[in-house]
Symmetry: C3
Subunit: 323 residues, 3 copies
């Protein structure tokens, strides 16, 4: 793998490889010394044009556990605000010796541009671009679903037959998009539930079922239900009437929790708006995987960094050893 | 020790243990290579809801000298400003594998909530909460007093019989509160000097003497005098008339320096307002311990991190070796 | 070397030593593991009173490749904005055990004050002060010119006979000043080209030729031409009429590129205003060294940190080994 840009074009075998390596990484995190020497001497740059402390520190923790050097580059106060182009910024990081660039950008497609422009040879990891994709989020979600539903023997498995329901502001959500593509690639069946105003116009081209009725979707008996975060800044009359109305119709509360099948799980990408899209009961229920998702996020990002930065070397070593 | 939340409930033996380990840490800082491998593979998160560059970099330097990985989490631009609760933030850091959380928060009691809520298993270090406590500051102050007054044979000693005078804005000072409790626990006798408007209402319940007259306090012959920082943003008519008036009545100047006993020392938590609560002469005098306090702060924080993160392991190793 | 404050007083032999050590550093950057153990246990503080992400991360990458611990101290939100003096800030960093302070400051002379005040014993590196100097930029420029013009056998050489033309806002440019002094020390001949309003008043005391006419300067056949960045915030009627006018008279475009001698090179300190002081063609031409300058910047800063922090120890080791 050279880059990790989206899940739409991610091959099934590459996705499974990331998930399986993430299992190995997860095993190392329960050791006394969690640090691996794998990426010693490598430099990972977090190039964040949008603030996202959670995602940034998850990548930072992942890189440091692999012994890489991490440099945080926030667009605030940088040359970027003086009008420097993405090209010049990228080439500068490349020239300084960055081995991987983790990029978060408000414009959909910026990571793809960075990776395919020829400006840099570093590996590019998309940490969220506009309303486009957030592939490591979808990978950590798939990892979490696989571990929970198939328990100990999940390595190598895909999600064939698993039914996942995604609920909320699908229109603006890169998390929803990345999940739809990855889950479908892995064999799962996806249902979207959203207010009519928050369903994308082109949804008929997506490999999903769509409904506006959360109770109907729950009665269909999903194996996993993923509640999307409502961006409070988008909450205005144009999309839905009031927070209370949203919560009543599309929030996950105790009654809906009780209606979910035994053994089903609840995902949320965080940070949660407790009492809005998810009740405190649901958030803290044993079925909730919110904190496992966060922990798995570090393992999945370690796997992605490893495969982008050490994968080839590792292969060649393995070949040498085989001789 | 599981956490370091305050000095009010810190047992005498735990306080002395921190001070003694800090002596060991201080010895390592004069070596050619100052770095110890002790906390390799551990992750320390600086969770700062209030800006404090000095305290943050002191903890950062301490953690790095022990080979821990450090992740800085500033509340600005984080999910916190999107309304995320302390609970969700804490659980997220826990899930990412934080071994210790150094927290600075504007609300008194936030570190205690974090440590006792059951949300996290990581060690919690209070780096200043509201007007409540700032325990590592008090520990570094006690460490500095002990070293200066008892010179070479200070290990194991407490501060029995030592007289300490604390001067300034006691009302708003978590530094003053943490010092009062710790110094008293260690056997010292504390006198507070403050303008009448800056004395806490409940001071009669504190184990201290109180006076409004700095010259009277100095004539009593303290062994150490600690000048608190005046927060210029609080300087308005409600508390005292003018800077000049404050400086004249409660500032440490050359005349008052001359009136202090031989061998007495001058502390200040920094940053100093030279010419306001302390004159430049006093600040730069050989009796001033301001810079030693800063240096000792790194040693004391190394000791606290060590005892929270490696203490138990160390004990069990020692037991194994003893078998 | 104790400090690196300016190029005006930098001795020829010290400049050449930095350039030669930078060659060694550059060689290590093409290894599989780029990290050297040289500065393990040393602490480098980036003390930035002005934002400059590029320069900060170049120093950060350089220090980390030498295994130093790096602490970033931005003046925003620090005690500095509470009115703390440079003296107290510096002494605090010293007390915390900083071995080197990389300082960027809006006031010309601040690094010199820091180094000569007696406040600290740490090595001081000037990363740009006011309109005064930016010595590591000039060193990386000289390094780039030397490598390009003398190819493989450049170690030990100075720039005798090399003709360098510097074009743009010389008045406000610390980059221009540092280059003038260093290039002259190394034997190069410097020509300045600027709009009349952007020529310093005291330029007659500089060891340079001055012209307002870029085409004339190009027809003289320079070996290297350095285009300065136009600070858009300074672009108002007081200095020159319009961007288009500036670009037409003092910008480097395809026509002027064609008029430059074969083998000549184009430098720019970055970030570039493409289409203003330099056309996209010129910026991306094979003669452009913009990205080499960035890469060389890391090598030169590794060399400077090495010579300041490990130089003496290295010497004494060498002496011991010689016995």
């Amino acid at each position: 793998m050279r880059h990790l840009l989206d899940t739409k074009t991610l091959a099934r075998e590459d996705a499974l490889r990331i998930l399986d390596v993430a299992e190995d990484m997860r095993d190392t995190q329960s050791r006394e010394v969690k640090k691996l020497p794998t990426l010693r001497g490598k430099t990972v740059v977090n190039l964040f044009f949008e603030d996202s402390t959670r995602t940034r520190i998850s990548f930072e923790a992942a890189a440091k556990r692999l012994s890489a050097d991490v440099i945080n580059f926030s667009a605030k106060g940088s040359s970027v605000s003086k009008g420097e182009s993405l090209q010049d910024t990228a080439q500068t990081l490349q020239a300084m010796g960055a081995d991987a660039v983790v990029i978060r950008h408000g414009a959909s497609g910026a990571p793809h541009t960075l990776a395919t422009s020829g400006w840099i040879s570093a590996g590019v990891l998309n940490a969220g671009d506009g309303t486009h994709e957030h592939p490591t989020q979808a990978l950590l979600d798939a990892f979490t679903i696989r571990r929970r539903l198939f328990a100990d023997d999940s390595r190598g498995r895909d999600l064939t037959g698993v039914r996942v329901t995604i609920v909320g502001d699908v229109l603006h959500s890169r998390v929803a998009r990345s999940n739809v593509w990855l889950l479908t690639t892995l064999g799962a069946r996806v249902t979207l539930v959203a207010p009519p105003t928050l369903v994308p116009q082109d949804v008929s081209a997506w490999p999903v079922q769509v409904t506006y009725d959360l109770d109907e979707a729950i009665s269909a008996g999903p194996d996993a239900i993923m509640m999307l975060r409502i961006q409070l800044e988008r909450m205005n009359a144009a999309y839905f009437p009031t927070e209370r109305e949203y919560s009543r119709r599309w929030g996950l509360d105790a009654g809906r929790m009780a209606a979910l099948p035994d053994g089903s799980i609840v995902l949320h990408p965080g940070p949660m708006n407790r009492g809005l899209e998810i009740s405190a009961d649901a958030a803290d229920s044993p079925r909730s995987t919110v904190l496992e998702q966060v922990a798995n996020g570090v393992s999945v990002r370690m796997a992605a960094l490893y495969l982008l930065l050490a994968g080839e070397r590792d292969t060649s070593n393995a070949e040498e050893e085989a001789r």
